[in-house]
Assembly symmetry: C2
Homo-oligomer: 326 residues x 2
């Protein structure tokens, strides 16, 4: 791999990434950081799931954000893609571009990164550090059993549509962080946590895998993402707006229409949206009833090719918001 | 994966990456671009080699560089890491950050990228496009037979040290592109090509694999990179400066000491540096003699822990140059 910013900074990078990685030996890593490539042994009989996401300072997080939180958000949003695919986390690489190699920043960033990696059982196996405007590109690799991945193209007519936990928090958090709206102290803290430390729904993913016909994670907004399932499955979808699960922060928010807008078109939620055939719904319902899965039915796959939102049986028109940079 | 810059630009990205990728179906790709993850089937009995490199505008290539050349350089430098590891190219992902999704720029970039990918038999399987200062992060994946990878830690006392083709061109090209030195028209064109379209030494890698004890590619400069072999193998190295293979452009350059400096500490050459035990040298020599390998013996692994350069038997002191940004 290309090496670091300037020769003198090599030891700093090594100190914060290579050494810590060496202290956390991981399954399947034949050779980790420090050679031209990492060498990896895929678990027997498994396929590899791969995804890459980049977070740019001033675009995906505010300039001056805490380095540990940047690391957490970068890794968690990538883990969310593995969850959306029904894959088990294995390894990741880190391409870090930063203006200068500042020891304190690197210490905090690597602390956040390795704590998060340990929590979700994923190992750093390589990377590249370059000089330039701050951005973090992470590529995650996971294992799936052939034929058992949660794809986007498997939804069928009449399938129920569900989402995990609550939707709309990502957009509300963004609005709150940008000072466009204000929340009470507790709700602000909750939304801040949801933004920087979104929970990759790996456990939910494993539980729904035998029963879901299609799945993805909500990053661009529920309607935009569900549209991907519609397009891939050659179907339409109807969402019952009143059925959208909102967090207590959003329930308490005085403008309910705005809360629904956040839930439908806001993005950054990293919840799973998935479809389930009617014959599999009893199994999903049992998981929910037993507290093993937190998810809500929000609609149904129908004929057509578009996502339609309904409120009390009437069309709910979305004042679709553009992407808001920091 | 996270999606693109703004919703309206999705189709542009899709047009230039997803469609072209679909037209080049590749071995082992169960599911390519368009879902949360790509799904990949590793060839039977093989291990996965993974490397990631980022190229930042204004740092690794001049601002305003041709998009097709940026794509070529990004992919080729990554392929060089697979060559350095003795791995066969399989797949790659692309994390592209760019200020705006300009159709002409994307067309040229993707043209350069796919032409290069086709040439080396590597398939784009996923990516992420984000808004921000221009940078290109590519992660390559390749296949190696267990135990046959070319690592850095396998050199032994008395091993010969070789480099493929010529060294110093990368640094000379950088100096020329930056206007610090001037070359004749032909030599300038040659160096420009060497800079933007470095040849990943995949064929050489496959040929030396049975005989080399250690290998890497020269990205930071011969001395700095050979030092990695020394450190990993717990040895020192002596380079005979007069034995360094120089291109005709560098041979014609009036300041030979400067040419040696470029060769020793310049970087950006993407040639292989490898070590060979004396008992394997006849096989390597036969490959060279038969024109199947272009490589030169430049030194020997010795006791110690440092790289020493000698010129006519005397120490050759390096006026080590710092990393030069554009």
């Amino acid at each position: 791999m290309l090496s670091c910013i300037v020769p003198g900074e090599f030891q700093l990078i090594q100190q914060f990434f290579q050494r810590e990685q060496a202290e956390q030996p991981a399954a399947g890593v034949v050779l980790g950081i420090g050679d031209d490539c990492a060498l990896l042994q895929i678990p027997e009989g498994k396929q590899l799931a791969v995804s890459v996401d980049t977070l740019v300072s001033g675009v995906h997080f505010p300039e001056g954000a805490e380095p540990a939180l940047i690391a957490e958000r970068a890794l968690r949003t990538n883990l969310s893609d593995l969850a959306a695919m029904g894959a088990e986390p294995l390894w990741f690489t880190l391409a870090l571009t930063l203006p200068q190699a500042e020891e304190q920043w690197l210490r905090e960033f690597s602390r956040g990164l390795f704590a998060c990696a340990k929590r979700y059982g994923i190992a750093l196996i390589g990377g590249d550090t370059t000089a330039g405007p701050l951005s973090v590109s992470i590529q995650v690799m996971g294992a799936v059993t052939p034929g058992q991945a949660l794809r986007r193209d498997g939804a069928n007519l009449g399938d129920f549509i569900l989402v995990t936990h609550s939707v709309g928090d990502g957009a509300a958090a963004l609005a709150s962080l940008q000072g466009r709206v204000s929340f009470s102290g507790d709700d602000h803290a909750y939304l801040h946590e949801r933004f920087y430390r979104p929970e990759p729904r790996l456990q939910a993913s494993a539980r729904i895998r035998p029963f879901a016909s299609a799945a993805l994670d909500i990053s661009d907004g529920l309607v935009a993402d569900l549209q991907h399932i519609c397009t891939a499955s050659d179907l339409g979808a109807v969402i019952d707006v009143e059925a959208l699960p909102l967090s207590s922060a959003l329930v308490a928010y005085p403008d309910r229409t705005q809360a629904y807008e956040w839930a439908l078109s806001g993005g950054d939620d990293y919840e799973l949206c998935f479809t389930v055939a009617p014959e599999n719904m009893p199994d999903i319902a049992m998981l929910i009833a037993q507290g093993q899965l937190q998810a809500s039915v929000i609609g149904e796959m129908v004929a057509g090719n578009r996502v339609i939102c309904e409120y009390e049986g009437q069309p709910f028109s979305l004042a679709k918001q553009g992407y808001e940079h920091f």
